[in-house]
Amino acid sequence: MIHRLDVRTKMLGFLGFIMLSFLFQDPRYQLLILVLTGLLAYWIDIPQRKMIGMLVPLIPIIVSIILITGFTFAPERFDRISSQTILFYALPGERLGATVGGFLMGTTFILRLFSMMIASSVLTLTTSMDDFTQFFHKMKVPVEISMMLTTAIRFIPTLDKKRRLIIEAQKARGANFNDKGIISSIRSYLPIMIPMFINSILIANSLSMAMLNRGYGLSRTWTSMREIAFAPRDYWTIVLIVLVMTLAVFVRFRWHLGVL
């Protein structure tokens, strides 16, 4: 279903979603949004393992965000009394107080971050590269840029393979990468990065030849493989998006819900 939507519709939806998640500071609302996106993701079953893999490296940042916001959001920045209450002070003499609102805000940041990740991967998983180029084209992005980006994305797997081969080749010469300390780890990763750079240069050289061999750059446009066009389902979706947005704005600014 989502797969068949027009790329422009999807982009609009994504934009709306971002605004939505920025309208509300209250974790409960964020939770609602997260659940909804989660359901969406579940519906088009995106690989769970991938999501987890994306989350793990962020954990240190997540923790620090919660703590820091917890301590540093000054009470007067919240318009709810409940949020201004100070839990405790980190330093003696009433300094660096941890506010309820601060922690709530931290939680909001995290939830927002999660739903962002889910939404973005939904977008990327349901949209083909060709669609994105079409989108760039429609948005009047210069052809060089869209060409550059599509080529870049096409070559990510190729370079990732190189990465694996290079690491294996250096391991076979006894390289080991488990020593701590910045300088020593820099030294131990140079034998990976330098060949990566060298191979990238080699690839780029022969890629430029290959592109020229096939007439790239003769004119600044090329035959587009598929003309994208709105279907009825797109109009329905757009209407839906607009409705949700207006509702959200109403809730937020009229009734002042979802703030801290």
Partner: protein
């Protein structure tokens, strides 16, 4: 023959520009792959996502470097689904582009070592404070260690790699 001459006249992208374009494309891809190369450090693992951009700045010119580092950042964060939301990533990408340009410029004016130091300060300290409006003072201070360590690793590796490769006929 003559009509082919004409074609050359209204040729839009010269061979040289195609080469620049493919270098940019490949190194943008490399930035995304570099993010997967996790280097252990005191503050957790650091990705190699800006080293390619800094390297390009030295090897192929400031503009190329700026483009690579900016789009590299965008593609990289797109792969993990824009964890800090698209507008913020755009903002960061813009900064990175500036840092890459400065890196190249200082390298030209004062040499590599000063360039490295400047780039680390810009990408580590200045970038952290540049986040002030979004995450507040605490956020900035909290981010700083990550950014500084990341900057140190990426910038130094780009510099050493550049010195190592310069001797060959590749660049």
């Amino acid at each position: 023959m003559s009509n082919l001459n004409l074609e050359k006249e209204d040729l839009k992208i010269s061979a040289w520009n195609v080469k620049r374009l493919s270098i940019m494309a490949i190194f943008i891809a490399l930035s995304a792959v570099g993010a997967l190369i996790k280097i252990p450090s005191p503050v957790g693992t650091i990705g190699m996502d800006s080293a390619p951009g800094f390297f390009c700045a030295l090897a192929f010119g400031g503009v190329t470097g700026a483009v690579v580092i900016a789009f590299g950042h965008l593609v990289t964060s797109a792969v993990v689904g824009f964890p800090m939301t698209i507008p913020i990533h755009l903002y960061i990408a813009f900064q990175m582009a500036l840092w890459a340009l400065t890196y190249r410029w200082v390298n030209g004016k004062l040499g590599l070592i000063p360039a490295v130091i400047v780039a680390i300060i810009l990408n580590g300290v200045v970038s952290a404070f540049a986040m002030f409006p979004i995450v507040g003072m605490g956020g900035a201070l909290g981010l700083m260690p990550f950014l500084v360590v990341g900057a140190v690793i990426n910038v130094i590796i780009s510099a050493v790699a550049y010195k190592a490769i310069k001797g060959s006929r590749l660049i």
